[in-house]
């Protein structure tokens, strides 16, 4: 269980705003969430990763007080999801990829609407309005119809609406799916600002480049947590098979040759290069040089490259025997 501590934040319990203990959720005979435990510290940007159907959404719905667990406990913002689900809901914010804004309302009207939903008084809404508009960079656009905004701006507005009641935790479900890179970068700057002010950010994402923005990550697969740590730690601890980048002439022909070799685990074309995953770096480099020189194909270079989080993710879930050991 040496990796287990990775799932716990290193803060004292009092500073943890999410504490999950042996949580399970069954739907009939199907176990969607299987005895998971972890904690999230105040102000942390926490990334919750998993493929479709891994148990991500079920876990979030439990943490948001929308679904009760079959067994185990979860304390969110100081309240128990089993007995105080209604209180949990008042202390959290939620934003999904479909950001539920009203397209035919203006920016201002959407903010007022969400303020009302979260039970804020008019005076409170007025006060928060200025803050949200400034924080999201929407000053001057208050009276524009939401449907006229570009996706990136809608997304910022949705985040503003999700935090109007100053929640301690905000859950972001696939927040930047399909937005352009500049908007994505700006959006994460905004998230960083919230986190600096002490708001805890709980993000689920498919997109592993985005996971690089998180302080700590946890990977769920078939309802169980199979890995956790900072992005850097994940790349170090869960070492994948070496990945080599090959620059050579006739890349497609070389790809075809290498695909037939039993020591090549995976191969694909990557721009004008080839990326191949192999069992052993030195063995592979030697064999590549030999094969190419026999075929008189010019080899420019073979380099080992750092695996990305996506490589780590895929190697972890494609090795069930390894995840069972954890």
């Amino acid at each position: 269980m040496s990796h287990y501590k990775k799932f716990l934040s290193d803060k004292p319990m009092s500073e943890n705003v999410i504490i999950v203990n042996n949580l399970s959720k069954k739907f009939g005979s199907f176990t969607a969430v299987d005895n998971i435990s972890f904690s999230v510290a105040e102000g942390e940007i926490f990334g919750f990763l998993g493929a479709n159907g891994a148990g991500k959404s079920t876990t979030i719905r439990i943490l948001c007080g929308l679904l009760s667990p079959s067994s185990g406990s979860a304390v969110v913002a100081g309240y128990d999801v089993n007995h105080q689900a209604e209180l949990v809901k008042t202390r959290i914010g939620y934003m999904s990829q479909k950001f539920s804004l009203y397209e035919d309302l203006t920016v201002k009207e959407n903010i007022i609407f969400y303020g009302g939903i979260y039970g804020l008084s008019n005076a409170q809404i007025e006060e928060r309005m200025g803050w949200i508009v400034e924080m999201t960079g929407l000053s001057g656009s208050e009276n524009r119809l939401t449907r006229e905004l570009a996706v990136g701006w809608k997304q910022r507005l949705a985040l503003g609406c999700a935090v109007i009641h100053q929640p301690r935790i905000v859950f972001l479900d696939e927040p930047t799916s399909g937005v352009d890179p500049v908007f994505r970068k700006n959006f994460w700057e905004l998230i960083n600002q919230f986190s600096e002010q002490g708001t805890t950010i709980f993000v689920t994402t498919h997109y592993l480049d985005e996971a690089e923005y998180c302080n700590r990550l946890m990977l769920i697969h078939r309802g169980r947590i199979i890995a956790g740590g900072s992005p850097g730690e994940l790349k170090e601890i869960y070492i994948t098979n070496p990945i080599l980048e090959i620059e050579c002439d006739s890349a497609l022909e070389v790809l075809e040759i290498l695909q037939k070799e039993e020591w090549v685990i995976e191969s694909s074309i990557f721009g004008t290069y080839l990326h191949i995953m192999v069992r052993d770096e030195l063995e592979a480099k030697h064999k590549i040089k030999k094969i190419l020189s026999e075929k008189s194909i010019n080899l420019k270079r073979v380099d080992k490259i750092t695996p990305g989080l996506e490589d780590v993710f895929i190697s972890l879930i494609e090795k069930p025997e390894q995840s069972d050991r954890l």
Binding site: I45, G47, A51, N52, G53, Q97, A150, V151, G152, E174, S177, G178, V179, D180, P181, V182, F183, R184, K185, E189, N192, E196, H206, Y207, L208, D209, A211, E212, Y213, C214, N215, R216, L217, S230, P231, G232, E233, L252, L255, E256, S268, I269, F270, G271, T272, G308, E310, F313, I314, I317
Partner: protein, 305 residues
């Protein structure tokens, strides 16, 4: 020199007051995987639709696979494949039936062998009897790809093919694209994900209806003259705040456990960085100059436009 398969000049398209594509030239060769990147509203989708013959340009001319872009649209449509987020599969038809349906649309009479091949290729064979609406997102997307390949096109146009798809399906999808390239099919795609653009033979950065730069992912990075430093401090939040005050840092980005800095000259700025962090008792665990990412290029190109 590989054969030119797409060649357009002075392409323009407006929708009312909005000009989406403003005089654009593009040449794409046989065997390429060409990635179109750019901010939302840059005109990427409009361009793809113009090249597919789905939209008619207001001005400009071109040839796709030798066919005239204006006069021979029917020929173009029958020799290319087009796949977008809105690709409509029929939910109440099975996998097999969907492919059959698209074969009929494209007037492919003897479609069975092709279908077997496509099912093999997309690894959908075990699911051939399943209704499309019962497929997972990743499988639906692979089926849509199979349907757009049923008439054996020579070029396939993909508009944001992997948006909202999980990493495993995404990887699988790229494996399939790589196999298509091996078969000699050219691929033209748009993507908001710059790590995907890294996989292309050439990338075109589009903004306000025009290409601002077209080159291989490696060469397009030469556009950035500044250096990118990856720095791991012991306390990331405090370090971020302190470094925000250093004027020599042109851009500062906080990732989960490291900072990325854009600077003119690392030799010059590193002493300054050490000084400002150490003064406050912070330590630098490690730092190194890294290759700029396409994201750095993207941000820089957008700034000048």
């Amino acid at each position: 020199m590989p054969e030119v398969i797409i060649e357009v000049q002075g392409l323009k398209k407006s929708f009312g007051e909005v000009s989406a594509v403003r005089g654009l030239d593009l040449t794409i060769f046989q065997g390429e995987m060409f990635g179109i990147i750019g901010p939302d509203g840059a005109g990427k989708t409009t361009l793809i639709r113009l090249l597919c013959g789905v939209l008619e340009p207001d001005e400009g001319s071109g040839r796709i696979l030798g066919y005239d872009l204006i006069k021979e649209i029917k020929e173009i449509k029958s020799s290319i494949g087009y796949f977008s987020q809105r690709f409509s599969l029929y939910g109440d038809l099975t996998v097999d039936e969907n492919i059959e349906f698209f074969a009929e649309i494209h007037e492919v009479s003897d479609y069975q062998p092709r279908r077997e091949r496509l099912l093999e290729f997309t690894r959908l064979k075990p699911f051939r009897e399943r209704l499309a609406e019962k497929l997972s997102g990743g499988m639906r997307q692979k089926l849509a790809l199979a349907c757009s390949l049923v008439h054996t096109p020579k070029i396939i146009f993909l508009d944001e093919p992997t948006t909202g798809v999980d990493p495993v399906s995404r990887r699988d999808f790229w494996k399939i694209l790589s196999e298509l390239v091996q078969e000699g099919i050219a691929i033209v795609l748009t993507t908001p994900y710059l790590d995907e653009a890294e996989r292309c033979t050439r990338v075109g950065f589009m903004n306000q209806g025009k290409f601002m730069a077209i080159d291989s992912p490696r060469k397009i990075k030469n556009f950035i003259e500044d250096k990118v430093i990856e720095l791991v401090p012991d306390e990331i939040r405090r370090a971020y705040k302190l470094l925000k005050q250093v004027p020599e840092i042109k851009e500062l980005q906080a990732l989960g456990d490291k900072l990325n800095l854009l600077v003119k000259d690392e030799q010059e700025v590193m002493p300054r960085i050490y000084q400002s962090l150490e003064k406050e008792g912070l330590k630098i665990k490690s730092w190194r100059v890294i290759t700029p990412s396409l994201e750095n290029v993207f941000v820089a190109l957008q700034k000048i436009s």
